[in-house]
């Protein structure tokens, strides 16, 4: 009799949600800078943002471990504030956030570019400040594309494995996610449990991709 690893499902879900929420503001902000402004170093930033998409996730995980470990640049600062990240649920969120960031930025950028500058310019001539233009014109018109990107980022975060296992480990009930739980189930010969989680993964991914497609399609109407 196989049983589902509910704590892993719960952590995956919660951490992926949190990762996407953390990514939204900086992701959309960066997408706006990439879509609307010319600035030195833009291509470099664009490349760095895309890196997690193409780099081996394990490599990203190792870099994160260097950054967030006690002797790391960010980790030592957090340690002095009594915040431990590595091998805790926070590391799961960090790994998911880094791995899914490109999805938020790239989709938001395409959505913002599709809005075009003309409606924004006219809004400004009607007396709207740049903030009001952003809130009342740009973001409402780009919201479906941004939401589609967020859903794709969520799906990517749910499937995260390589970076997570390095930076958060695979501690049952603490840092084990759906992906890492499948991995240990297979290693331990609990194939039934693994297949249960695989079905859950397929279901979640299916719903996420469908939702993302629907969001983008309605935008085109």
């Amino acid at each position: 009799m196989s049983s589902l690893d509910w704590p892993a499902i719960g952590l995956s879900f919660g951490a992926a949600t949190l990762a996407v929420l953390i990514n939204l503001v900086p992701g959309v902000g960066l997408a706006w800078l990439l879509a609307r402004r010319a600035w030195p170093g833009k291509s470099l930033v664009e490349t760095i943002v895309t890196l997690p998409l193409v780099m081996p996730p394990v490599a990203t995980g190792l870099l994160l471990l260097e950054l967030l470990g006690r002797r790391g640049w960010l980790g030592s600062m957090l340690h002095s504030l009594n915040i431990e990240v590595v091998f805790t649920w926070k590391a799961v969120v960090a790994a998911m956030a880094v791995m899914s960031f490109p999805f938020v930025v790239r989709n938001a950028r395409v959505a913002l570019e599709a809005v075009g500058t003309r409606v924004e310019q006219v809004a400004a001539t009607l007396g709207a400040s740049p903030w009001r233009v952003a809130w009342t014109v740009t973001l409402p018109l780009a919201r479906r594309g941004i939401a589609a990107g967020a859903v794709m980022a969520f799906a990517r975060a749910l499937g995260e494995f390589g970076a997570t296992i390095l930076v958060a480990g695979n501690i049952p009930g603490s840092t084990t996610t759906i992906s890492t739980s499948i991995y240990s189930d297979i290693l331990l010969g609990h194939d039934g449990d693994a297949y249960g989680l695989i079905v859950v993964s397929i279901g979640l991914a299916f719903v996420a991709i469908l939702a993302s497609e629907l969001l983008v399609r309605e935008r085109r109407l």
Binding site: R118, V119, Q121, V122, A123, A124, T125, L126, G127, A128, S129, P130, T136, V137, P140, L141
Partner: protein
């Protein structure tokens, strides 16, 4: 006549194209006439503040909008200059009513009567609950005009408002533009490359060619009736 808007030594270089303009606009409707590529839209963008000139000074009713030497450039949302671009740029996610009040967000009692007046005169009362997608070309045109007027601009810039319309529709829109001109009395710069529109709507014309003003004066001096229907530049 006193100058309402002064453009002094306004210039901008865009690749190999260079715009260099010295002009003074009085109240009333002035045509900015010229072929495509003459720099008409670029000049409009400079006046609205959407583009910064490399040099020059722009003053509207004693208010300095641009002084390149002093690094002054009032941002577009503080200029009180209405702009209706060629593609109209209605907000597709808002219905007509929300489009119209966008530039006058604080709805006061007197605004309400002004609102009624504008929508009645432009005959768009029946369109208020529609989305821009559901409007015809001529309806969109009138909504864009009304939206610009309701923001109470001190100057109105119309960028080739009729160029995308076919001849019969053009005929029907011109009376609306004349009505806007005669009833709302907002100083307007009307950009076009059609001489007939200049004659139908404007008192004065500035002729722009390859980034330079080549003629400036009363429309009656600059344009003559052709033998075939329509007008041409003298």
């Amino acid at each position: 006549m006193t100058a309402f808007l002064e453009l002094r030594g306004v210039s901008v270089r865009l690749g190999r194209f260079e715009l260099e303009v010295d002009a003074a606009l009085s109240e009333g409707w002035t045509a900015l006439f010229g072929p495509s590529g003459a720099g008409k839209t670029t000049l409009l963008e400079i006046i609205t503040g959407l583009r910064r000139p490399d040099a020059g000074r722009i003053v509207m009713k004693d208010r300095v909008l641009v002084d390149a030497a002093e690094k002054i450039s009032v941002p577009p949302h503080r200029r009180k200059i209405g702009y209706v671009p060629q593609d109209l740029a209605l907000f597709p996610h808002l219905d007509v009513r929300a489009n119209l009040v966008y530039g006058s967000p604080v709805a006061k009692a007197e605004d309400e009567s002004e609102f009624q007046h504008v929508v009645e005169r432009l005959e768009i009362v029946q369109l208020l609950d529609k989305k821009p997608d559901a409007l015809s070309g001529g309806e969109k045109q009138r909504v864009a005009l009304a939206r610009a007027l309701l923001a109470r601009p001190e100057l109105l810039l119309l960028d080739e408002p009729l160029s995308a319309l076919d001849a019969p529709l053009k005929e029907r829109i011109i009376p609306f533009l004349q009505r806007v001109r005669d009833e709302f009395r907002v100083p307007t710069l009307y950009v076009t490359h059609a001489a007939d529109e200049v004659v139908a709507l404007c008192e004065r014309a500035i002729v722009l060619r390859a980034g330079r003003i080549v003629a400036d004066g009363p429309v009656s001096d600059l344009f003559v009736l052709r033998e075939s229907p329509g007008y041409r530049l003298r």
